[in-house]
């Protein structure tokens, strides 16, 4: 980046207005905004699907949905939430904040960035179209296999499976493009003086995420392509009759699927410590220990996949290896938890909405992590596996650990992005409603699982009625509370109290040295980091 080109771009003369601004933009902040908006919309799409399911499960007996349609909803809910809500939200923050945090004018590969985003809407359409058409009586609906595509059920399924396979291909390409962009940006565009070990934690979280994505997305793409050829071109990768093995798909899928959990969580583990240090008014504890822990988790993520299907049958040594390696993930996580709490310890804490979300996040994600440790045990897993216990566990990691983390980040950076303060009162209300209704939704599901309710069933035996009823009511409160989130974001974008450059009293880092909102081209002069 020479200074002459930087000077040339100072004026806002070179981008069109209106719709063309958004279609053609290569600006990291515009693209970030589009990612975040897309993610918010899809969050509600996925959420309304699950509310239909919770309404059906409100009491025993079939009330609203056919079993076929129920099976489509569960799978599409998961795919939408993971690929179209959570991942784009993290990518949106990366686009917005990484250049600001490392003192760069933009991302390294702006056109790639634009392409990465515009692959998302078509794939969201591919995911939801078969299902929408089926509502109008056309075709046989979306994939009904759950988000995991397990053959032979997925080989047997209708055209919805093919739609989902191509959607996953597009989403995968988009993620890999985003990852390449982030790695190139972080390696080449840091401000002078910012060594790798001085990078903000969010940048570290994303760097490892990006490597995980590049390592695992191709495996998923390969696995679903093999599925596609099994379905239409007479191959037998997953068919025992032709020498294949259905369980091989599970190995391939979870080789991607387990790192995916960390792909969703690592960016959050990046910015939560930043929020904690801001509102504790004290530098984060154990920066190096945290960076090494993130790397350790990234490395362990790709060697523990088979704990997702212990009951599928495996030799004893494999069971033991996957059990112990899974348990080992708790070691770096314990270090992270320690550092997060030590950052708060003896700080001067105040509890604005981002801090509330961050602290609530530590507690709830803690429950997700600890139940994960218990799930690693092979013998007990025979009971937990595919029961509601697992459903509750992964919603503690992905809703509390993922989405509530994203909410913390949203409230933290919203004043920086919009230049206005959001309503603190509504933000706090949103937090308490979310935290309480979330727990009331999922704590009963732990007990349902222990009592023996399998997941993915449209109707259930009478002994499960009470817990399901509590869970359904709380799920509706949880769902409708999120309207507050939208209201808060929209009204903050439209106006409100002006935000200062630093926004938060204890905020440190390059993004807080720019005006709120930051200029169109973030840093026109490279800052220097001591």
């Amino acid at each position: 980046m020479s200074t002459t080109t930087v000077a040339h771009h100072e004026e806002h003369h070179d981008h069109p207005a209106g719709i063309m601004r958004w279609l053609t933009t290569t600006n990291h902040k515009d693209i970030g905004t589009m990612y975040l908006t897309f993610s918010l919309i899809m969050f509600f799409v996925g959420g309304s699907m699950i509310l239909a399911i919770r309404a059906e499960l409100f009491q025993p007996g079939l009330q609203l949905l056919n079993p076929e349609f129920f099976n489509q909803l569960i799978g599409v809910h998961a795919l939408v939430m993971i690929f179209a809500a959570l991942m784009p939200a993290a990518t949106g923050f990366a686009n917005w904040m990484i250049p600001l945090q490392i003192g760069a004018p933009d991302m390294a590969l702006p056109r790639l960035n634009n392409w990465g985003f515009w692959l998302l809407p078509p794939s969201a359409i591919l995911l939801t179209l078969p299902f929408t058409l089926a509502l109008f009586g056309i075709g046989d609906g979306a994939l009904a296999t759950g988000w995991t595509f397990y053959p032979p059920l997925s080989v047997q399924g209708g055209i919805g499976v093919d739609f989902a396979i191509f959607a996953v291909h597009l989403l995968g390409i988009s993620s890999v493009l985003g990852s390449i962009n982030i790695i190139v940006t972080l390696f080449n565009m840091r401000a002078p003086g910012m060594t790798l070990m001085k990078m903000p934690m969010f940048a570290w979280g994303w760097l490892i995420t990006a490597f995980l994505l590049i390592a695992t997305i191709p495996v998923l793409a390969g696995a679903v392509t093999m599925l596609l050829t099994d379905r239409h071109f007479g191959t037998h990768f997953f068919d025992a009759a032709g020498g294949g093995d259905p369980i091989m798909f599970q190995h391939l899928f979870w080789f991607f699927g387990h790192p995916e959990v960390y792909i969703l969580l690592l960016p959050v583990w990046g910015f939560i410590p930043q929020i904690l240090e801001t509102f504790s008014r004290k530098p984060m504890y154990g920066y190096k220990a945290q960076v090494y822990s993130l790397w350790a988790i990234g490395a362990l993520a790709v060697v523990v996949w088979a704990h997702h299907f212990f009951t599928a049958g495996m030799p004893v040594p494999a069971l033991l290896y996957f059990m112990y390696s899974t348990m080992a993930i708790s070691l770096p996580l314990a270090v992270l938890f320690f550092c997060w709490i030590k950052t708060m310890w003896k700080g001067s804490m105040s509890f604005e909405t981002p801090m509330l979300f961050a602290v609530g996040w530590i507690i709830l994600f803690g429950i997700g992590g600890l139940t994960g440790l218990v799930l690693a045990d092979v013998a007990a897993d025979a009971q937990y596996h595919n029961s509601y216990f697992v459903v509750a566990h992964f919603h503690y990691t992905l809703f509390a650990g993922g989405i509530m983390g994203i909410m913390a980040g949203t409230y933290y950076w919203l004043p920086k992005m919009t230049g206005h303060m959001y309503s603190e009162k509504l933000g706090k209300l949103h937090f308490w409603l979310t935290a309480i209704s979330f727990n009331l939704t999922f704590i009963p599901q732990f007990f349902l699982g222990l009592a023996g309710m399998p997941r993915r069933i449209p109707d259930y035996a009478l002994q499960f009625a009470e817990f399901n009823m509590i869970s359904s009511i709380a799920a509706f409160v949880l769902g409708f509370s999120q309207l507050l989130f939208v209201y808060n974001i929209v009204s903050c974008a439209r106006g409100g109290k002006k935000a200062t450059d630093q926004v938060w009293e204890g905020a440190k880092g390059l993004e807080w040295t720019l005006p709120s909102p930051p200029p169109y081209h973030s840093f026109t002069e490279q800052p220097t980091v001591k």
């Binding site: 079939l62 069971l319 770096p332 001067s348 308490w432 309480i436 222990l450």
Partner: protein, 390 residues
Amino acid sequence: MQGFRKIGLGVLAMLASLNAYADYSWNFPLPATPMALDTLHVHNKFMTITGIIFIVVLAIMIYSIFAHRKSKSYKPVADKAPSTAVEIFWTLIPFAILLLIDFVIMGIPAYHSVIMMEDTRDKATMVIKITGSQWRWQYEYMDGDAKGIKFVSNLSTPKEQTEKGFQGVKDADYLLEVDNRLVLPVGEKVRVLMTATDVLHNWWVPQFGSSRVAVPGFLRETWVQVDRAGTYRGQCKELCGKGHGYMPIVVDAVPMEEFKVWVAAKKEELSKASAGADKEWTKEDLVATGKGVYEKNCAVCHQVSGAGLPPAFPALTGSKIANGPIFGADGKYLKDSHLDRVLNGVRVMPSWKALLNDTEIAAVITYERNALGNSVGDVLQPAQVKAARQ
């Protein structure tokens, strides 16, 4: 701060309930096998350990939240990072604690549980084979007196109760009742072989503590030793299509003497049924028997009326196959004929060869051709089905 207290209380309640062995709706159901008992112990132990970790960490955090607040004018400690040595020392403490918990306190019992769970062969006194199909279980006794007993087990909750919008009173064992129960002798270690004919299924009885995926084309194994007589219920727990929620498991565990009586009775019942295959049946008898077979096995997809659920599940009423010829000029059944479909299946349509006996196949085909709006008028005899199998 009420929220934190609430969460804390909730967790305390959760922990307290773990030790309340009497109240099993808060924990695993009462174990009936050594494996389930072991699983319960492991679960309780691990939950207690993780519960303690959670409470201790939460307590420290809550203390800090109350003590170190700006609103109480608490001044942050010196604004500089700790030295690397101090930092490494402190961060190694949680690392070491978890190392001990993971690989010693939890790791050692977990190891023994795995070894026990996977030991399917030692001291096993009998072998059964369980086959999962969309959406029913088939049980076969592989050795001993019971060798050769083989039957299919279907959901027997009345159909109207499971239909959309049913308003009446449901059975106590709604969705958890079958027509033919698996019967096992108490106290005997039974080796269980598991397979499937179409997609993945998972045979799971929570009180047995074992669950294993049934994989088409492969044999998986596990074991069951029921130590208390009684009736045990479970469900399929691997998503297997639209009937996934409708393939329950019911096991009667009975004392050995009673088991022997059951074996003798079941054998006689089965031999009677196969004897029926050799006699000549009237059309009326076949249609009457076929109606029952159809509604139990075929109506899930093809519907009671025969209208099907196109495009996935075609209608039988007016179908080319159900109204076409079965046998060719040479007396052999035709490819893609009605009998070929039922025996061998195609795509989503399962093969019924192993699931239904000769009489049932003959009856259901005769029923489909002479009811459901079809009137071909011909009769398929069980003997013809028997010949077709060869």
